[in-house]
Subunit: 137 residues, 3 copies
């Protein structure tokens, strides 16, 4: 059995959005109790990551670290036509994940106690983002 | 057909543990000969990586490089309540993978000759870790 | 239904090769219209990434950035027997992905408008590479 839904999200600009509740809803609607959930972000300047869900300081430090590893407006970038945050966004997408695959056990995503699935918006401005959720079981 | 098992692992602290033999055992028990194996690490301070399985110097250099990219006790971290290695562990998890998806061909994981699937323990102290293995075919 | 094919690729040395057309052909041959496509790179010095497919400057900047984050011939490397680009290649593999999982919607990979799936060759010399494509539906 294969069940698919597309999530449409509005991001407020750079930052993390917890997708776990919406993905869990898709899994519930699929009726699958033993299976697999694949979540794919259909963009190259936004991505996914599974991170700590409890302390907001983790998200703050993650964003600051991404800025150090792939800074906005790095003078080494030649891809600059779409603004100083665009090439940085592409690189941060490589560092994180375009898709995540999470088993479904007893009708629930097998995320750990402290894990949540986040959409990482890497662009400074708000964007509309499309995330494809695929459930098989 | 969907077959799932949870692996419980004790890590000796920071370092790599080769999961390939245990995951191969799950695949064998599933009886699947053509299918897919998804391995998910249910933590945010341990993760997975597929790496070279032959020369111990690769693992040593990988750990040293992770320490350079996401150092313990970086003064920029604000998430410090759980020790100097906790935020570093979260960042190293982003750099590597929470889950890996490996086709099963002729009853075996389609890993290359030099590939092994490792659990990366990022915390300094020993931990109990939970890894969910999902096989479909 | 599970359909598998192995792609054999000759890379010209370090750089990106767009796998999207060849993977799309596998999906077409599978006959699957609703399902999942998993692509696995069976190497530890080549890997996969989903990146921007329009502007060549993105690929140039990505390669330059990988060279900064995991440089060839870093004096810190102890794994040097296979040349100055080998340990760098292993690290760049960790930064990117060994496998990608892409839903199949209406018989097509659910890649975004600007997404392509690339093989990243990290070694300086040309190599033969093996990529396993698994389709279920």
């Amino acid at each position: 059995m294969h069940h698919q839904e597309v999530l449409h999200l509005s991001t407020p600009g750079r930052g993390l959005t917890d997708l776990s509740p919406r993905v869990a809803d898709v899994v519930a609607r699929s009726g699958v109790t033993t299976g697999l959930c694949v979540v794919h972000c259909a963009h190259t300047s936004a991505s996914l990551t599974i991170q700590e869900n409890a302390d907001p300081s983790v998200q703050r430090d993650l964003l600051a670290w991404l800025e150090r590893l792939a800074p906005d407006g790095d003078p080494a970038y030649t891809h600059t036509a779409e603004g100083p945050d665009d090439m940085a966004a592409h690189l941060r997408t490589v560092l994180s994940s375009a898709n995540e695959s999470i088993p479904i056990v007893d009708g629930r995503l097998a995320l750990g106690t402290w894990q949540a699935l986040y959409l990482l918006e890497h662009r400074a401005a708000p964007h509309r983002r499309r995330v494809v959720v695929h459930v098989s079981g």
